[in-house]
């Protein structure tokens, strides 16, 4: 029996020739992502336990993002702790305010993600990096502390579910709609503890940005990691972004690898999808939910705050006015500048949107667009749990940038295809 790409990467990281689902392994970590919410606690734990060390200051990437720029005194204290530690430990890749961005957009953009690596981060959406044929998973503060100090973590090798994405996406349907459809199909625990491996012709026609939207939301189906194999599109992105041109290792799933399940999706049949409150699995075709009145639109986050997303939103808003509060959040300073240079900011300005600095902001109910009781927001983010973007009595509707932009213009959920 062969191995899946996830099994191969974990086996290599554990120094083994073969692993099987269920095996407990100690894996060497290649890259650790640290941000402002979960890392300060990890730092304090290490100090408290007297193991205040960093296994490799070249393999840790630090950026404040959730509450940056600091939204209040307490978050300023978190940033201060993160900043003091990063400087004291001489972390090579530290992105303070001005360079900082939403972590899962920043790390690939800055060339920190390589195929074949084991990457962990103190954030559930760390699974995003699996788009680069890497094993990548989110962890809590204690695991983060252990990884920072030792460069090793234990893992249970997950079973893999294969998702075969067939067919060409029709106009107005994006990778966000694909992943919302997948989660609606299998549920928020449909891939609990498991690896979600995405394959198929649909992927060959979408960018790395769009692929990251898919792996980003693997956690919303409960998965340990989401992963997409290496190809020319991956290579092109890496050639443009990798800082040090050091080699990386490419792993592929064997033809006779063992999958717990194979699920085929005909992507050519998909409509734009909106996940209704209060679970990411609440996906409905737009034809079944258009007309619901919105109070706010939010375009940003690690799911859909990249340049391609802003271009799509701007193409719909060009020459139009929004009917509701609309917040645009470029995910990194580079994306911010690109959007400005390409004239997207002018389009958003003319449409009466507001443009924020890079931040996770209101995606998790931090700041920069919090909802009042009874309000509804169409959002390009990843979670629509109760209270996620503000009042426990508010509602979040997850959608693609195109659907969010079109809905912003009309002040209600609408089919974006009429604007394309």
């Amino acid at each position: 029996m062969g191995m899946t790409i996830t099994e191969k990467i974990l086996a290599a990281a554990a120094g083994k020739s073969k692993v099987e689902p269920g095996d407990l392994i100690d894996a060497k970590i290649d890259c650790i992502m640290c941000h402002d919410v979960t890392t300060p606690a990890a730092i304090s734990m290490l100090k408290e336990k007297g193991i205040d060390k960093v296994f490799d200051k070249e393999k840790i990437v630090v950026t404040p993002d959730h509450f940056q720029p600091a939204k209040d005194i307490k978050s300023a204290e978190l940033h201060k702790r993160l900043d003091t530690w990063a400087r004291e430990k001489e972390i090579r890749y530290y992105y303070p305010l001005g360079k900082a961005g939403v972590c899962h957009a920043l790390l690939p953009e800055q060339g920190h993600i390589k195929p074949g690596e084991v990457i962990v981060g103190g954030d559930s959406h760390t699974c995003t990096y699996g788009a680069f044929a890497a094993f990548s998973t989110g962890i809590g503060s204690t695991d983060l502390a252990a990884a920072i100090a030792t460069g090793t973590l234990w893992f249970r090798v997950p079973e893999t579910i294969k998702f075969v994405l067939n067919g060409k996406l029709s106009k107005g349907v994006y990778s966000k709609d694909v992943i919302l459809a997948v989660i609606a199909k299998i549920g928020t625990d449909g891939a609990l503890y498991k690896a979600m491996e995405f394959v198929g012709p649909t992927l060959k026609e979408i960018s790395m940005e769009a692929r990251m939207t898919i792996t980003n939301m693997a956690i919303e189906a409960g998965a340990k990691n989401g992963i997409i194999g290496f190809d020319e599109i991956t290579k092109k992105y890496l050639d443009e972004h990798l800082k040090d041109k050091k080699a990386y290792k490419v792993y592929e799933s064997d033809k006779n690898a063992n999958y717990e399940q194979t699920i085929e999706i005909d992507c050519s049949k998909l409509e734009p999808i909106v996940a209704l409150p209060h679970l990411p699995s609440g996906g409905q075709a737009i034809s079944k939910c258009s007309g619901i009145k919105m109070d706010q639109a939010y375009i940003g986050s690690c799911t859909n705050g990249r340049i391609e997303d802003l271009r799509i939103a701007a193409s719909i808003m060009r020459g139009k006015k929004v009917a509701i509060r609309t917040i645009i959040v470029p995910a990194t300073p580079v994306i911010w500048k690109q959007a400005k240079d390409e004239g997207l900011f002018d389009i958003f300005y003319e449409a009466d949107c507001v443009i924020s600095a890079p931040t996770c902001g209101a995606c998790l109910g931090g700041f920069m667009g919090i909802l009042a009781a009874g309000e509804k927001c169409v959002s390009t983010t990843n979670r629509n749990f109760v209270g996620r973007m503000g009042s426990p009595k508010s509602e979040v509707y997850l959608a693609s940038p195109a659907t969010a932009a079109a809905s912003a213009i009309e002040g209600k959920l609408v089919d974006c295809r009429k604007y394309l």
Binding site: S124, S141, T142, D189, G222
Partner: protein, 161 residues
């Protein structure tokens, strides 16, 4: 003796256990004051030390925030008993020395307000109110070792000596 607080709900997520608006601190006492707030505003008031939360599938789904476990620990919750747990939350529990108990049909076997007693070693919950014994699968040995050592970091310290 502990009281069961039963939530007949699946997918109770980390935003409900500790809303992100309180993540600007990692202070356990401050987090505990808002434990379960977006699901049940009375939870902190009614939870006595050692009481257990009982729920359905996929408890703790969502964010990797360990703050969810700290909020429960700070609120002196004895254990969470659920049909199943989300992966990162489950791992965070073990790493913090907090017991996640997987029990099939948990909310069907335990009613809200039932008096229960948990024997972690034997893997037995005694429902005193209903006079029944419920067995659950104990955690794997290495996880029990981590919990007994007082969490992952203590465990690492101990094993490196």
């Amino acid at each position: 003796m502990a009281k069961a607080h039963v939530y007949k709900r699946d997918h109770i997520n980390t935003d409900e256990i500790i809303p992100a608006r309180y993540l600007n601190t990692d202070n356990m006492a401050e987090l505990a004051a808002h434990c379960m707030e977006d699901l049940d505003t009375n939870f902190v008031k009614k939870c006595k030390p050692g009481d257990c939360i009982v729920a359905g599938d996929d408890f703790g789904c969502g964010s990797s925030r360990e703050h969810a476990v700290w909020a429960l620990q700070g609120a002196k919750v004895g254990a969470v008993i659920a049909n199943s747990f989300a992966r990162i939350f489950y791992r965070n529990c073990i790493n913090c020395g907090f017991y996640p108990i997987e029990l099939e049909d948990a909310a069907g076997k335990i009613n809200d307000g039932d008096e229960i007693e948990v024997d972690y070693k034997k893997g037995v919950i005694t429902n005193i109110t209903r006079e029944i014994e419920l067995t659950f699968k104990p955690l794997p040995d290495f996880a029990i070792e981590i919990i007994n050592d007082g969490g992952l970091l203590e465990h690492i310290k101990k094993s490196s000596h």
